[in-house]
Amino acid sequence: MDFALSSDVVEFRDEIRSIIREFVTPEIADRMHTTGVFDAPELNLELGRRGILERACPGLAKGDPIEMYVMFNELEKAGAPYDGLAVALMIAAVVNKLGTDEQKERIIPSIISGEALVCMGYSEADFGSDLASIKTRAIKDGDEWVINGSKMWTTLAQVAEWLILLTRTDLDLPKHKGLTMFMLPMNTPGITVEPVHTLGTEITNATWYDDVRVGDEAVLGDENGGWRTMTTVLAFERGVMGGTNAGVPLLRHFHEWAVANGVFNEPTTRERMARSIIDMQVATLLTMRSAWIAASGGMPGLEGSMTKVFAVEAYQRASGWTQATAGPAGLLQFHEEGAAGEGFVEYDARHSPVMSIYGGTTEINRNNIAERHLGLPKSR
């Protein structure tokens, strides 16, 4: 095996690092926690201006999954707000693969320039893991589609330009087959956004669709082919767009605090820290494996499930022991005097629980591994 990045990827990584040094300031990191929007427009624009988003987007320009992994890993390790960017790039890749020429021309440039974000309308109040049962309806009315229903966890809807929306278009077909995906501007009349405040600071949304009218130009992929579009989205995510090394900045913040407060010489703390560092290495190696499989022309869906299960639990272990070790200082929030790790210890204890839910729960991922890797019978 070879674990060295090629020289052009190293160059790419160094460019990302220099952009991070300039644009991911403490103020920007702070802003995500005060606004609840995990996105940095100035960072996105700079990455767009330098052609990096186009270069990293699958199917466009170079589209090297190793570079995609490197970019998001660097952003995550630096504690940058990158959630908006990850979603936007993933959807740009889907539009590029399944969209019409007209859709590609209309949508992709706005994303790879770093200007436009995308929000995702998949889950509903009653349908999360059982996504194929969603009820939001799109009905053909002459040349138009009329959409009615509601979505849950439509994160970034308050700032996004685009919405990718999963709807039911045929009630008579089996549940996976009567779905159609739409891609429409968020300023289309009939969309209402209401904030949902979360434990982890991030503000997500509930969204309502009342007689939202769009034409065929908004259908992404085939009519009643929404599930295929959905699996394409997941295939592009591949577990390489961040979300696997969130413990790295936490350990850094905790260590600074522990050293400054004279508690880092405790053997228990040193051992726990060392073991979390092993976890972070393993998490990044599993992520790199997914990128390598994708770069070799494979589809690392199963490996993505494995990576997510491990990486998320590693992060949760780290946030658990760092807070417990910090004692009362681990309860104090950002900007409070004496807060452990400048408040990150407290923050990560609030943020880490969501990671085993979004993008596929740990239980769904374990089902995948049991069925597809171990060959055990379907349990539901």
Binding site: M1, A370, P377
Partner: protein, 341 residues
Amino acid sequence: MSVDLGLSPDQESIAELFNGFFSNEAPPAVARAAEPLGFDRELWNKVIELGAPGMGCAVENGGGGASLGDLVVVAETVGRSIAPIPLIDHLAALSVLTDADLVAGEAIAAVAVRPADANGIWSLVPAGAVADVVIGVDGDETIVIRSAPPMSGPRNHGSMPLADRSAREGTRTILGPASLFEVVLDRWKLLTAAALVGIAETAKELGVAYVKEREQFGVPVGSFQAVQHGLADLPVAIDGGRLLTHKAAWALDNVTDGLIDWANNEITDGPTLATMAFLFAADGAIMATDRSLHYHGGYGFAEEYDIQMYYRRARGWSLILGDSTSVGLSLADRLFGTVEG
């Protein structure tokens, strides 16, 4: 140079050769028959024919010139089969020893993984019961001793050929300062990590095969989600351990002045990675054997079933280096520097 996380065609052949060899020559009955000593001379003689004992030595010394990545592949097959031969200890010792009889495998070498005590005794040396040569640290020197092996030792959890050996009696060679031994111990940790990945892999296979076949309530117990989820963690730990072990091998072979920049998760220092791999693979093997034994129900507890042999070796092969807290703290010293005072 660019990321390539697959085995090379050569390594694929090595894996096929050794997996085939061990499944023919060392099915679990062989390990069982070799208990409690944990050594089968006949099997050792057969690996000699494969050229395995000297495969990591330089070609000019009569060895096979294999890379550490290649040896990791071999070590994993040893773990998969729990073959009762001290190949891992021998391959580790031969990172610095080049004696012709060792390279040929006519004599067996062991690694005293902990330094000698004040009386010059290396206690509980893995493979110490059967090795003709032992390498280890006595005081501030790296010592090589040739002396007759006792061919017996204390009965132990892992059915390993353990024995106390003297660092002073026998034909004694001072190889150099104690620091010279580090390369031997790094290689021992690396190859033991790979063997522990192999143990976990077989434990997973045994467990999965069992729950597919065993029925309760009229269905295979493997159809229950509680059982599935317990087993689903195993391939994750196995793949993670394998990747980390191979990264350690890659770093030991290719990287000088590697990074220990944990704050940015950039670690390319071989010895650091070898200890990380050892700790992670030990945890993985312990978890995998624990769960697999559990999902065998009462039969996992029965001596007749093979999983208990893996369960014991997962603990034996990892614990012989020292308690895991001490090993974890030695990693902490590498990562953060030692604690003053």
